[in-house]
Every structure is written in C-alpha cells, then in structure tokens.
Amino acid sequence: MPGQLIELSVWQIGLAASLVVASAGISLALQLGLHGRLLWASVRCVVQLVLLGLMLRWIFAPGRQWYVVVSLGLAMTLIAGVVAFGRNERRYAGMLLDAVISVWACSWLIAGVALLAVVRPEPWYEPRYAIPLLGMILHSTLNGIALGLNRFTREVYDRRGEIETLLALGATRREAARGPIQEAVRTGMIPTINAMMVMGIVTLPGMMTGQLLAGVDPMQAISYQIVIMFFLAAASALATSGVVLLGYRRLLSADHQLLLERFQQ
C-alpha cells in the first residue's frame, strides 16, 4: 500500500543530515578526530544510495528482460566474492576463485529456491523481488565466507604442527583438518544464528521496518522476515561450509600433505 507512505522532501532529508553535522561537532569538541571520516562517509552514503536509487528505478521499470536482471545479479555476486576474499588476513593461491564460486553457487541456489519455490513472483525474475532478495542473501553469504575463511586459514596456519603430526601418524587429510574445519564453519554461522536469536526482541530488521513504513500489515511483514531469515541462515551455512571445504582441498593435497607453501606472503 504505497499510498500510505509519507514521501520525504529534500528539506526533511536535510534536517536529518543536520544531525550528522551535529555528530561531527561532538567529534570535533571531544577531539576524536572522526569528524572528517564521518562527513566523508555521509557524503559517500548519499552518493551511493542516489546512484542505487537511479539504477533500481531503471531496473524496476516495467518490461525489463530477464537477462538484465541476471546480469545485475552476476555483477553483485562478483563484487560480493571479491569483498569476501579481500577481508582475509592470510591468503592462499586460488582463494579468490574459491570465494567467488562459493558466493555464486550458494547465493544463487538459495535465491533460486526463494524465487521459484517460496515467493514465486510473476515473472520469476521480477526485479522488485529478485534484486532485494539476492542482495540480502549475498550479504549473508559474504559475511559467512569472510568469517569462515579467515578463521580456517588462521586455524590451519596456527595449528600446522598438530595437523602435520596427525598426518605423520596416518591421519587422512580430512581427519587432520577436522578441528580447523569445524571451528571455521562454526565461526561463519554464529552471526546468523545470533541474529535469529534476538530477532524481534533487540532488533527490528531493516526489511521488515521498510515494509511497515510502506503500510504493509505487520503479520505479512513478519511472514516475509521469517522466510528471509531462513534463507539467510541456509545461505550462510551453505556458503561457509562450501568455501571452507574448497579451501581445505587447496591446502591439503589428495596425497594427504599440508601445502603450507600455498599461503602467500
């Protein structure tokens, strides 16, 4: 019911912006040194969102072809993969490919289930559904992959002595890497699980808030939010497990050797 949404004027947005300026003033008064970064972040935020708005207005226009939506989805996926890779402290040869493959396979699988089996918009690539859904799923996979992969490489490197000892005593590569794999997948999934635990108690999720502001019935908004959280949990679990298993196969060879030289300096 978009009719119930109160439209914001430029002046109203400017009033909100004055609060950021006030925050910058606090930073200046307390000599935090953050005022420059805060203002720069605010400018970036405005520019990025305006560009996004213009792009979404173009994408959401009636009659868009499926390949336009898929192309935008692919670009979003590629960026998410690169960002997930970039957040790692310790890198290995092939890590970028592993991150992109995991982001792509897991988010598109879950987005496919969401669009084709659960939400079922008409047509299936309807941009108003496909783009926001894929965006939220990508965000969840990106976080899971970045956290899981970072933990995995750190565990493998820090516990290299233990892994090598197990291999020398006859362990398979999977047995030797079991501890790091479990730790990494657990680390990647914890944020999503925590978010689900406090959902509706501590936080009112952004998508649901948006729907409520747009005048959607609260129970309908909640139904969407529940479904979304399940998608995000599944995407996070799949992506974290997937990327950790890909990384494990790169760092431990089929001949059950720990390939530390694959770590890049």
């Binding site: 002595g161 233990e162 090598e164 000892t165 197990l166 291999l167 020398a168 005593l169 006859g170 362990a171 398979t172 047995e175 060879s253 089929a254 001949d255 059950h256 050797q257 720990l258 390939l259 030289e261």
Partner: protein, 229 residues
C-alpha cells in the same frame, strides 16, 4: 640381513624444485633403508636433511621420483596406511592432548588405526625402558621437558608398531640423560624384533650418528653422497 637384501624403504631419484623453479632442493636423491640397519643422514644446516626425511614420509610433494615401501609406491588413499608403517617424528614434537596418556591415545581415533586399541601395558613397558613408570602417563603434556616430549613422541610412534621410523634430529637440544633415554629406546626397539624394524637418523653429531646407525649418507645442496662434502 645384508645391505644387498631388498630395502624396506627406498627413495628413487627424488627431485624437488624450489618455488622459483630454478634451484633444486632435492636433486636426484636415491637411497635405501634396510631392515635392522639404521641409516644416518648428515649434512650442514639447510643442506636438505629435513626435506629428505619429509619426502621419505611423503609429507611434502616432490617434482619427480618416487618413494617405495616394500617395493610398492603409495598413492592417495594408501598414503595414510603407508604412514602407519613409516612414521616421521618432528624435531619439535607436538603432543595434542591434556596428558601423556591422552596424547598416546590420540592416534587410535584415526581410521588408519581403527583395528588397534590403546594398550596401557605396552605404553608402560616402553616407558619403563627409560626409567619412567605408569604415573608418567598422568603427567600434563604442558609440563613436559623437551626430552620428555621427545620420549613421549617416540613411545606414541612405537606403540603403533611401525616398520620404519624417520627421526629428525631426535636428540637435538636434549640434555645427556634425555639423549641416553632416546638412544636406549631406539636400540631396544630394534632388538625386540630383529630384522623387522629400521630407522633413519638425521643428526649433526658425527659420533652419535655413527653410534646409532649402520651406515651414513651425507647430503649437501640437496644431493646425497657417500662422503662428507
């Protein structure tokens, strides 16, 4: 058993290149380990001793050549089985587990050892050879001295009944008593099954290496020679 008998473990023209693909870390290395005739490997620091030992345990990839155990080459699924027979011991042992007993029990959780069970009597017997009693099993691994760690690692390997042990400077930085304990443990292990066990001893001490082995190979710049460089 003579050196002309079929070797238990054999390196055949092992070659490993440096990451720059220009220099050889192991250059056409061939050697054989025979039953009951421990082999010493000597060389200066950085000569390739540890790399050779790790290559024999198949813990590192090689560019060419092969490692044969009792005439067969281990690949992929058979590598864990090979490493049950040929156990590499790190210079600085890692003992996962809160106590010595927990560390000794750990290998039995692996699929490769699933047909075996931890035998406390065997562990106590091995420890008894170096003057430790059953109470040593209760000792926290965090409180072990360097010598005790090395002894625990040796017992952990020996209780698995391997055929060949690959010892990477097992007495390095150990005091006299601990060194003697390591030597005693190895000598008695060889004697308990004559002609069935062997080991490769990598060391710096010429006298000790000669005392502990039947023959010595020298490694220099990744190449194995019969004479010191």
């Amino acid at each position: 058993m003579t050196s002309q008998s079929a070797p238990m473990l054999e390196a055949v023209r092992l070659r490993r290149l440096h990451a720059d693909r220009q220099h050889c870390l192991l250059d056409d290395v061939s050697l054989a380990v025979h039953a009951g005739r421990p082999l010493g490997v000597m060389g200066s620091s950085g000569a390739g001793k540890t790399l050779l030992l790790r290559a024999l345990a198949m813990l590192d990839p090689t560019d060419s050549g092969e490692v044969r155990f009792q005439g067969h080459v281990a690949r992929r699924a058979s590598v864990p089985w090979f490493r049950c027979q040929v156990i590499y011991l790190h210079q600085r042992p890692v003992l996962p587990g809160a106590t010595v007993e927990a560390a000794l029990r750990q290998p039995f959780a692996l699929v490769a050892h699933r047909r075996r069970r931890f035998e406390e009597a065997r562990a106590v017997e091995l420890l008894g050879r170096v003057g430790r009693d059953a109470s040593f099993l209760e000792k926290p691994t965090a409180n072990l001295s360097g010598g005790e760690q090395q002894l625990s690692a040796l017992v952990r390997a020996m209780q698995l009944d391997p055929v060949v042990l690959l010892l990477d400077e097992p007495a390095a930085s150990l005091d006299r008593d601990a060194t003697l304990a390591v030597e005693t443990l190895l000598a008695e292990w060889l004697e308990e099954s004559p002609g069935q066990h062997s080991y490769v001893w990598v060391g710096h001490d010429v006298e000790q290496t000669r005392r502990m082995t039947h023959e010595t190979a020298f490694i220099h710049g990744g190449r194995v020679t019969r004479e010191p460089a």
